[in-house]
């Protein structure tokens, strides 16, 4: 019964099986079936898959949080001071007004967009720096010389300024987290690492990249860049996370080296370090890292 019965029931069952030929055969068939399942036990969760899932979730959370906070603020603003009895009426009215506004917006904008595009076509193409895509013909006949189509343009934006400029920091933080090209992510990190940035958003982006970026080089550079920030709990937790969870031994070595130097400067409480190093000694599969952690534990205890 796969260890589901209590002791007494299991004893009774065993006694019955011992005296029942049919049940003995069934038990033997079940054991065989069990053995077959065990022989093909699936592997533990693939670390690459876990990393991909975390990265995807991080992006989704960023979007959800952004939209959620705006809605929450609107809701608080509208309903915050109302008695519960009035809330339903307010919600109903608000839904009606929003519905009307959205319908107007959609139809009005559709009409406006086509006229805007008509006017701007010439300048967009003349500018020469726009990428044209998604061309859709409304009239592809062309027999009388006229065609009509819509298209989308993506225009590069050029920014120049100091790394401490909040707009520049915002764009770079976005690039660190969302650029598909790891080279661009690295360049963005190096750019913010060159100066000590003041923006919290950059720090958060670096911490996220350190934890979830699938490229070890990007994670390594994030770790390096974070050393430019004053040590706080978020950064400490991120470094400890790398030590105990990063799948790349090089990253774990970098984390242990950094933690060791922070220990010497008494930046991180010994209690936190001991906890992390002890976990490393117990779980890390790399001999060198386990030895380093063991040595660090001894030094802390001295």
């Amino acid at each position: 019964m796969f260890h589901e019965l209590g002791e007494e029931k299991e004893r009774l069952l065993r006694e019955h099986i011992a005296g029942c030929e049919e049940c003995q055969k069934e038990e033997s068939r079940l054991r065989e079936f069990q053995r077959m399942l065990s022989s093909s036990m699936p592997d533990a969760v693939d670390q690459g898959l876990l990393r991909e899932a975390r990265e995807q979730l991080h992006r989704s959370l960023t979007i959800v949080q952004g939209s959620g906070s705006v809605l929450d603020r609107a809701r608080d603003f509208l309903l915050g001071g109302l008695r519960p009895g009035l809330r339903l009426a307010t919600i109903g009215s608000a839904t009606f007004i929003v519905g009307m506004a959205v319908s107007y917006g959609i139809f009005h904008r559709a009409a406006q967009n086509s006229s805007l595009q008509d006017i701007q076509n010439g300048s967009i193409i003349a500018a020469g720096d726009s990428r044209i895509s998604n061309v859709r013909f409304l009239n592809a006949d062309g027999s009388n010389g006229d065609v009509e189509f819509t298209f989308e343009t993506v225009r590069p934006v050029r920014m120049k300024g100091n790394i401490r400029d909040p707009q520049i920091e915002k764009v770079l933080a976005y690039a660190i987290l969302n650029e598909d090209n790891p080279g661009v992510r690295l360049q963005s990190i190096n750019a913010v690492a060159a100066q000590r940035p003041g923006d919290n958003e950059v720090k958060k982006a670096l911490i996220s990249a350190l934890r979830i970026d699938k490229n070890a080089g990007v994670r390594r550079e994030s770790l390096r860049a974070l050393q430019n920030f004053p040590m706080d709990n978020d950064i400490k937790d991120a470094i400890l996370y790398v030590l105990n969870h990063d799948g790349n031994p090089g990253m774990r070595v970098a984390a242990i080296n950094l933690l060791d130097s922070l220990r010497e400067r008494s930046v991180i409480p010994n209690k936190d370090l001991l906890e992390a190093f002890e976990k490393t000694v117990q779980t890390d599969q790399n001999n060198y890292i386990r030895l380093r952690a063991k040595a660090a534990i001894e030094e802390i205890r001295q």
């Binding site: 065989e32 022989s39 093909s40 898959l49 991909e52 975390r54 959800v64 959620g68």
Partner: protein, 193 residues
Amino acid sequence: MPSDIELVESARSGDVHAFEQLVHRYDTNVLSLAARFGNSNEDAKDIYQEVFLRVFRNLHRFEGRSEFSTWLYRITTNVCLTFRSQKRKDHLATSEYNDDDHRAAADGGPMSGGVLRPDHHAESREISARISKALERLSPQQKLVFVMKHYEGYKLREIARLMGCAEGTVKRYMFAATRRMRVHLYDLKEILS
């Protein structure tokens, strides 16, 4: 190290970093179940996303009457069941509960002639593939119970608690699942012997 409840509180006030810390404590187990329940890595990632986004959106409903992990795994089982029922709609009519498959398996099936004598790894792969295929023929509830019991090591009463149903119901799912699996994998004993 902050407790689960402390992290939940921080996450409720919009701290995504705290939420991610919470996620990283339990997501290996969630992904493991998702990977074994789903048919592919993409399925597993979809289930993972859905679980944690649902958790994030509903954090305000978590009252702390149970452990956070229990609440999380309950959501995971719900997502698994919904996920499967959504994805299976399209090919339910053609591939599910097909009696011909039962008969083919019971008659010996394509691998029954002792043809397969490969090395151990290939044999193990073959068995895994057959088991996966057999699992696909179970209903979502049967599959979930079977996977949680045999691959994730839950006890039946824990599964019942997470699925929000009676232990007797879980036993029925388990019994039906085991019977179906045995029928589908009948011929594999020749490979193993």
